[in-house]
Symmetry: C2
Subunit: 280 residues, 2 copies
Amino acid sequence: MLVFTTAAELRAHAEASRGAGRRLGLVPTMGALHDGHIQLVRAAATQCDEVVASIFVNPTQFNNPDDLRLYPRLPEQDTALLAAAGCTVLFMPSVEEVYPQPTVLRFDFGELERVMEGAHRPGHFNGVATVVSKLFHLSRPHVAYFGQKDFQQVAVVRQLIADLSFDLELVVYPTVREADGLAMSSRNRRLSPEARAVAPLLYQVLAQAASGVREGVGPAEVQARAQAALAQEPQFTPEYFEVADAQTLQPLTAYGPGRGVVLCVAAHLGGVRLIDNVVV
Amino acid sequence: MLVFTTAAELRAHAEASRGAGRRLGLVPTMGALHDGHIQLVRAAATQCDEVVASIFVNPTQFNNPDDLRLYPRLPEQDTALLAAAGCTVLFMPSVEEVYPQPTVLRFDFGELERVMEGAHRPGHFNGVATVVSKLFHLSRPHVAYFGQKDFQQVAVVRQLIADLSFDLELVVYPTVREADGLAMSSRNRRLSPEARAVAPLLYQVLAQAASGVREGVGPAEVQARAQAALAQEPQFTPEYFEVADAQTLQPLTAYGPGRGVVLCVAAHLGGVRLIDNVVV
């Protein structure tokens, strides 16, 4: 596995690889890898000739300085995991390498980011779109792999690709869960044993709500029941629970034929902010 | 000269050309070509193995529907001029080909677009950045050629390239002028003989103002004199005359050592909006 820390190395390698007719897959990550990431790397290794994984804790997508400061960083362990999973190129740049000067342009994704993560984390999706654009330009992938866990992020990246005519395919893999249902997340490492013990409630609430949607319980009632269930556990401070259109991400007031529904939740648990979602 | 009307053709050609190690130059235009455009194509032909010119009157950068409707369109004449100048690929897509669905994302370039063209043409630079991003992704140039005539556009494109790490070089050529000093522009075709006769005043005022800057006349006084000179000709309706920092494009209140100055003007003349600039 090649390890690059400079943009110039990655660019030169991508150009040579594409010139040689090799198919490139990109798995952008912020490190502290878990099975969700590794699933993406394994898929890319099956489908592509080269797998570029990036590890970069992107400061411009963090609205909360503590969240940025406390984000887990495990470069040695990550490197070993990536090599074992079939990654051929690891890109691990410094902040200065990715942002040699402060960024001036700002992205706005309209209604798509006025809800959920976009509403609760101002500037988050501008940071995401900026760093994803940079990584796409530096690594020139044929395919980019993302996890469904960050559902709204996937919607924003899909819009970015369409609106700027990026020449690549977006592939999304389902959320990988622990045996008790907790969605895998790098931030789970920061949970205390007490918090970890109650964390699976987030998915239980989503699964109950999904049953409700399938049974035709209205969106407002599904939301109210989920919020009540979350309120049962005092360790949780819920941020939002939304019953939304799976395409537009806008809150639903009613279900419609052929209209996908996504249930999205965000909650704080022992100082850690967790998100999860289920598509019905 | 190859002529492509679909994004897929251009993408495939660009990929094959880069794979073959050929250096690609891009000259994005809105057609109705003049010597300013042709200068860029000739330069690209000297410096690159392939020259892609695009002709696309981009609707998203027009804030004024009449300006869009009346924008000159001369595809046959343009095609002959491009072939003679050394263009190897002409990309002439439909609006539906470039925008298969409405764009959701919006670019904001902050202070850079709060002045001059950005201030007077709301949404203009979002449209420019969107279409330029698309053209960069479709044609994958090593070098992109722009004219200094659209000074603020060049600044915005330079920022776009830097902020999103586009892997290409931006080359800017000086404004080409008629014998009487009028900056070449596709919109000049729409000037009546009476308007054309007084149009060179725009450059004369800029040249006088540039002399003033060199002689140390303060920015406010330079601006006031230029505005007074323009007001002498009743056919002109001036929009702005700015004495600005050539890097930031912000209005200057004083000159500073090593700080470039750009003089920018916009005025309406017989229903046609003209812009010009001089760097001191």
